[in-house]
């Protein structure tokens, strides 16, 4: 599956393992015969993996509706890889009206039935309730991890931190929960190594961080990521589901309440307000925008986010990412220049 709007609580409830696809940046050639040059590297990378059979181990693919590029990815996938089951989850795009809320509930219920059908089982309330509990626990622990690291950025390196976060979207969720509990317990006890107390605190904002090296490079440049506004980051973890109501209702409610991705519509300035709140809460000194080239939803939001940050006098820098990043050395210099002004 892709996208933090894929209702993976339902997938996990069905006894299937939800594995998030991040795409590859290497050796793209098959996808180029289906997608023109002006498509984002995420969609291209995912299609490449689908076509070169590296995703042959999955039984099916679940594609929620996101942006224009993603919606065509779904079509191209369906037409070219017929062996796997293929479910589109056509979520509402605006989520702040009564009809949209109703539709969101309808779509998730439809997905529950569709998934049950392709897997040949009935996904019951009890199964959903168990999954909701697991996800709540994982999300609460990851939030805890965010807080620990925010208070003590040196306690765990950026690269390790990123690995722990990414694993939440790939590993067997029960096993992950066990390991995560251990990690958080240990980190709570650990005394922070105060090596570079002067490191500048930064928030990372964007869609998907497909380049974990960035964390390390920023640290070398004298900064540290203390929070993020990424769809493979905090946007995915935030928000708990109410365990006292019907599970599907609880799942729906969380998707309606969470901070939106820019391909969805809620309030006109909601994302900007959220970003400023994150910066303040995490006592960050600056923001790094990590935008994928050709990503329309994020590119449309950038100017107004930028304006709101300017009004708040929060410094920021923009890193436009192509499939291939500039060399680590170059990047480090760019970050250093930015960090010096903080």
């Amino acid at each position: 599956y892709c996208c933090s709007y894929a209702p993976e609580e339902i997938i996990w409830a069905a006894g299937a393992l939800p594995v998030r696809m991040f795409g590859t940046n290497e050796n793209i050639h098959l996808a180029d015969t289906h997608l023109q040059s002006y498509c984002c590297s995420l969609v291209r990378g995912i299609l490449e993996e689908a076509l070169d059979k590296s995703l042959d181990f999955v039984d099916g693919v679940i594609l929620p509706h996101t942006c224009d590029s993603f919606q065509r990815l779904s079509d191209i996938w369906r037409l070219n890889i017929p062996e796997q089951f293929h479910l589109d989850v056509v979520l509402p795009v605006k989520i702040d009206t009564p009809s949209a809320k109703k539709y969101m509930a309808d779509v998730l219920e439809k997905f529950r039935k569709d998934l049950g059908r392709v897997l040949g089982k009935d996904i019951t309330q009890a199964m959903l309730a168990r999954s909701v509990k697991t996800y709540n626990k994982i999300r609460a622990l990851v939030s805890k991890l965010y807080e620990i690291r925010c208070a003590n950025p040196q306690i765990i390196s950026g690269a390790d931190y990123h690995a722990v976060i990414k694993a939440a979207m790939i590993m067997d969720r029960d096993q992950y929960l066990k390991i995560l509990t251990q990690i958080v317990k240990q980190l709570k006890k650990a005394t922070p190594r105060k090596t570079r107390a002067e490191a500048k605190r930064l928030v990372l904002s964007g869609s998907v961080c497909t380049h974990p090296d960035i964390y390390g490079i920023i640290e070398k440049a004298g900064g540290v990521i203390v929070w993020d506004d990424l769809c493979t980051g905090y946007r995915y973890f935030e928000g708990q589901m109410n365990e006292k109501i019907a599970p599907l209702k609880a799942i729906t409610a969380r998707y309606l309440k969470r901070v939106i991705c820019p391909a969805k519509h809620m309030e006109l300035r909601g994302r900007g307000e959220n970003l400023i709140r994150l910066v303040k809460q995490s006592k960050a000194q600056g923001v790094v925008f990590l935008l994928l080239k050709f990503c329309d939803p994020h590119a449309f939001d950038y100017p107004y986010l930028k304006e709101m940050l300017e009004a708040e006098k929060i410094p920021f820098m923009l890193l436009d990412m192509e499939a291939e990043l500039p060399s680590a050395g170059q990047l480090q210099t760019r970050f250093e220049t930015f960090i010096q002004i903080l």
Binding site: T33, H34, L35, Q36, Y38, C39, H65, C67, D68, S69, Q71, R72, L73, S74, D75, I76, R78, L79, N80, D88, V90, L91, P92, V93, K94, T97, P98, S99, A100, K102, Y103, D106, V107, K110, P262, A263, H265, L268, R269, L291, K293, F294, D296, P297, A299, F300, D301, Y302, P303, Y304, K306, D320
Partner: protein
């Protein structure tokens, strides 16, 4: 203050010019497209004087309720096409880029966003909106674009969310879109300060449906050999069904146009003097090069007889029940050409290939429009497999003329036409 006064006088002037034009038009037998557009834009631009409200709306949006409430609809996309045709797109796009908008975003959106701040472009900018109506049945770009404008103008925004129909239009979607029509009526009541006029809507819905049927009839004349019109003519005449859908003017004009085309057929006049090869066009026109392209193809005795773009304004007709406008409009808006799966698009392309009996398929891979362009390579493969006709893909942008390479495109068209000729002559 001085600026406000001069603005006011400008508006009065525009208003008077429009009135005068409308008056003189009464005596003119065949009104041209230019006449209609001039009256339309002058009315829209002087709306403040006449106390009418102005709504900006996306091209695939439900305009009929606006007309029923006497709100003047304005289409930034049509404006974008005008900007493109007058070769002002590059400059306006550059302005938007300076504002922080990436050069990879849709050039309609880029030029409109910057145009609003400088009142540039061929008609000195669009009239300020009192409300915005955005229907995402064409793309997700319009959602983001209208959000930008809603922040800029600080006016209410209504979003008609039409879920994408990859393979099906589910009953859940039906309920959702239908419910939004009710929300839309409430939105308009609030914005206009009076009750929604359902009787008028019926009437407008009827006119809109008739207009679309007539537009289809216009396009159908191109099935004749030689074709009395080309896709380039369709691009030109399209403006009315886009901007004035639901009014009587559309009916008058297209009734005349159908007659005109039929007359050309009767007299054996073709759009291309020596039509030997017939082609189908895909995607939005390259507005800044329509004349050049048209002459280029004509020089090879080739006529682009039809296209998937102008057909979109009547492509969902099969879902419309004119006696039940609201319910059927929900489905028709959700199932337009750009809101369906690639395989269904390919199917419609193949139907057009058969209907217009074309020898080749030309695809404009349009950097601006991702939902229209991604999937084209698959459509091309399907067409080649199913119908075996040669296809040509041209890389360009509809309004941003900066990246257009005339010599390269010219060479590619020449080479492509050689293939077409060879195949046809063999037959």
């Amino acid at each position: 203050m001085k600026k406000a006064i001069s603005e006011f006088f400008k508006m009065v002037l525009i208003f008077l010019v429009g009135k005068f034009k409308k008056f003189t038009l009464r005596f003119k037998k065949t009104k041209t497209m230019k006449d209609y557009m001039m009256v339309y834009y002058s009315q829209a631009k002087s709306a403040r004087l006449t106390g009418k409200k102005v709504a900006w709306i996306t091209s695939g949006g439900p305009v009929e309720p606006l007309i029923a409430m006497d709100v003047i609809p304005v289409y930034p996309e049509n404006h974008g096409a005008m900007i493109g045709a007058s070769k002002m797109g590059g400059h306006l796009c550059e302005l938007a880029e300076n504002m922080g908008y990436s050069a990879d975003l849709c050039s309609y959106a880029r030029s409109d966003i910057s145009c609003a701040t400088v009142n540039g472009g061929p008609i000195g900018g669009l009239p300020k909106p009192d409300m915005l109506v955005c229907c995402n049945n064409i793309c997700g770009t319009v959602l983001k674009w209208y959000e930008v404008q809603a922040r800029y103008f600080n006016v209410p925004l209504f979003i008609m969310d039409t879920p994408f129909c990859h393979t099906e239009y589910t009953k859940e979607m039906g309920r959702y879109v239908r419910a939004q029509f009710d929300e839309y009526f409430v939105f308009l009541e609030k914005a206009c300060g009076r009750k929604f006029d359902f009787d008028k809507l019926k009437e407008v819905g009827h006119l809109s449906h008739q207009g679309q049927l007539l537009w289809q009839a216009v396009l159908d004349t191109a099935t004749h050999k030689p074709s009395p019109m080309s896709a380039f003519d369709a691009f030109y005449h399209l403006a009315l069904i886009v901007t004035l859908r639901g009014t009587k003017d559309v009916i008058d004009y297209y009734t005349w146009l159908v007659g005109y085309m039929k007359d050309r057929i009767a007299r054996g006049i073709g759009a291309v003097p020596n039509e030997k090869y017939r082609l189908l066009w895909d995607n939005i026109p390259i507005w800044h090069r329509t004349r050049w392209l048209s002459e280029k193809f004509a020089s090879h005795d080739a006529c682009l007889v039809a296209d998937t773009y102008t057909t979109a304004w009547c492509g969902a007709l099969k879902y419309v029940d004119e006696n039940n406008f609201i319910d059927s409009a929900a489905e028709a808006h959700a199932r337009i050409y750009l809101n369906i799966g690639v395989d269904q698009m390919a199917k419609m392309v193949i139907e057009m290939i058969d209907k217009y009996d074309v020898d080749g398929f030309v695809l404009h891979s349009n950097r601006s429009c991702k939902p229209y362009s991604f999937g084209q390579l698959d459509i091309q493969k399907i067409v080649e497999r199913e119908r075996g006709i040669p296809c040509l893909m041209l890389e360009a942008d509809m309004t941003d003329e900066r990246s257009f390479s005339e010599s390269q495109i010219s060479t590619r068209i020449d080479a492509y036409m050689e293939i077409i000729k060879e195949r046809k002559d063999k037959k």
